[in-house]
């Protein structure tokens, strides 16, 4: 079924842009469970999926919805679920099983303040959970961190493409502010390539040997270590091929801000302010949080006087920045927790202190 793509800019809320982009990407199976601040995704899908002949199903829990995604992916469907931090915690079991069975799907986390029930505003407190493997076992998801409504939509289409290419779960890691804010955007084009899944999906063993999709591997000859070796090989390939980042005013910079998602938006404004006052500051923004652009960051930050990492958490990506830069550069951190926004003035103050 063709979906009309509007070429001129439209005004959309972040959460709705994700939903429409998923439809454009060919997602036809969406499984929901309500949680603030991402409810607009489900509401949009509930209205839109029937129009394109897709399935919208409100599950009994986040656990059920990720397992519906698991089933739909195994059967060959383009499928997605979305939630926010506490709900994403509940999905970790399913995400581990999807890694163990190499099933492709897109999972959206519009992060909110935590731990526990926390609050319902935007946060970046789930960086560790998303990038270091929130469930059990040695695995990764591809993690994409958009910083605008436009990018939310574009990365959602890319997420489906990446998932199918590598048979992996791709997570869109946004936050409650991004999900709730309205911006103008041009809706993305449908993906250029569709992957043939006929060699591995479950659709009934007609004219072929039966297939099993399972993560239990008790026999040494097809054991869990072998699965892991294959997964690691795949992860190395993704690390080599799929790293994405943005450099803003890095060329002649002496001081570098490192931030992702919404925090990077605030940093960009700070860079503009500082630049107009003659301060040579730039911003390095990882777009893939896994794989993290370690080498790319080192290449640009190695010669800086100072790096200031800015996050809406207690310093999670900070650890990856330290891994990338070691003791070659002085690294400072500015963060706000509990879904508080980082402030432009504070960033400016901390940069000025040095320059």
């Amino acid at each position: 079924m063709r979906v009309a793509v509007v070429a001129e800019p439209v005004l959309m809320r972040g959460n709705e842009a994700i939903a429409e982009a998923a439809i454009i990407a060919g997602c036809r199976y969406y499984f929901a469970y309500p949680i603030t601040p991402q409810n607009e995704i489900a509401a949009y899908m509930a209205r839109r999926m029937p129009e394109v002949g897709g399935t919208f199903l409100q599950a009994e829990s986040e656990i059920a919805s990720i397992n519906m995604v698991f089933g739909a992916a195994a059967a060959g469907g383009r499928t997605m679920t979305s939630s926010s931090s506490p709900g994403i915690s509940l999905k970790q079991e399913g995400l581990s099983y999807m890694a163990g069975t190499e099933l492709p799907a897109v999972v959206v986390n519009m992060m909110r303040g935590g731990p526990g029930l926390g609050n319902i505003a935007g946060s970046q407190g789930d960086y560790f959970q998303a990038t270091k493997g929130g469930g059990h076992g040695d695995y990764h998801m591809i993690v994409l961190a958009p910083a605008s409504v436009q990018e939310l939509a574009a990365l959602t289409v890319d997420a489906f493409e990446l998932s199918d290419r590598y048979r992996i779960v791709t997570m869109i890691l946004g936050d409650g502010y991004l999900g709730q804010m309205s911006e103008s955007l041009v809706l993305p084009e449908p993906p250029s390539k569709l992957y043939d899944k006929s060699s591995w999906i479950l659709d009934g063993a007609a004219g072929r040997d039966p297939r099993t999709i399972a993560s239990l591997r008790l026999k040494p000859e097809d054991g869990v270590e072998r699965l892991n070796l294959r997964l690691q090989e795949k992860y190395r390939e993704i690390e080599a091929e799929e790293i994405r980042f943005e450099c803003f005013q890095c060329q002649d910079a002496e001081v570098l801000l490192v931030a992702f998602g919404l925090a990077a938006r605030v940093c960009k404004a700070a860079v503009n302010q500082l630049r107009s006052a003659g301060v040579r500051v730039g911003l390095f923004r990882p777009i893939t949080l896994w794989p993290f652009p370690y080498g790319e960051l080192l290449q640009r930050a190695g010669r800086m006087k100072k790096v200031l990492v800015v996050e809406m958490n207690a310093g999670q990506m900070l650890e990856d920045v330290r891994l990338a830069l070691g003791d070659k550069v002085r690294i400072e951190f500015y963060g706000r927790m509990g879904a508080m926004l980082v402030e432009e003035e504070e960033i400016i103050k901390r940069i000025r202190k040095e320059s």
Binding site: L57, G71, A74, A75, T79, L202, G204, A206, I213, A214
Partner: protein, 251 residues
Amino acid sequence: MRSEVAGAKRVFSRPETLADVPTHYCPGCGHGIIHRLMAQVVDELGMREKTIVIASVGCSVLIYNYMNADSLEAAHGRAPAVATGVKRVRPDRLVISYQGDGDLLAIGTAETIHAANRGENITILFVNNAIYGMTGGQMAPTSLAGQKTKTSPYGRNPAEAGMPIRACELLNTLEAPVFIERCSVHDVPHILKAKRATRKAIENQVKGRGFSFVEYLSMCPTNWGMSSQAAADWVSTEMVSYYPLGNIRDR
């Protein structure tokens, strides 16, 4: 290799849906019987090449080793949600969720009730042997009052653990299910009845009629600490008196 005898009529053979492999199930276990009933019905309906079996966690997680059909292994308790996902993508395929009592009535209670309540057009085959088998004999939600297990060494105490849950009666409070029946596999007459229930439950799905559920009272001699015969007798006396056999709903 089968040798055919001239003039002889074949009265019994392995269903095509059942793989020709040795079993890992213990002597006297009911899973083999129930696997066969399911395979026989899939054969009869000519659905083998359209079947996707959902395996659940427990002894029967390895059902995919015995089914000559596509299968998908769900996380513990999640089989009805997984089956839902598969069925929504492949509405013309036969999706059978095969689950034990810990899976269906403890960790997966929510998934079971809600799949049934939505009237998903799937079939759940529920094996109730009143114990956790794979993990070595712990108390199940269906263990009988007074039943000794690894985690109820003094016998299940209803004051602490509650009484065993009756799955069929629980699901019978819902509007959507079209077929609910409890049967037993402790002797041949009951196995034949169980076969008819299995056929109805699977046929309903093929006809697009909605959610069907069959509960099988079944033996676990190893974890009950009984001989095969004693285990079959325990089903027919102790289990049947708490879990009444028969059809509860057939729309």
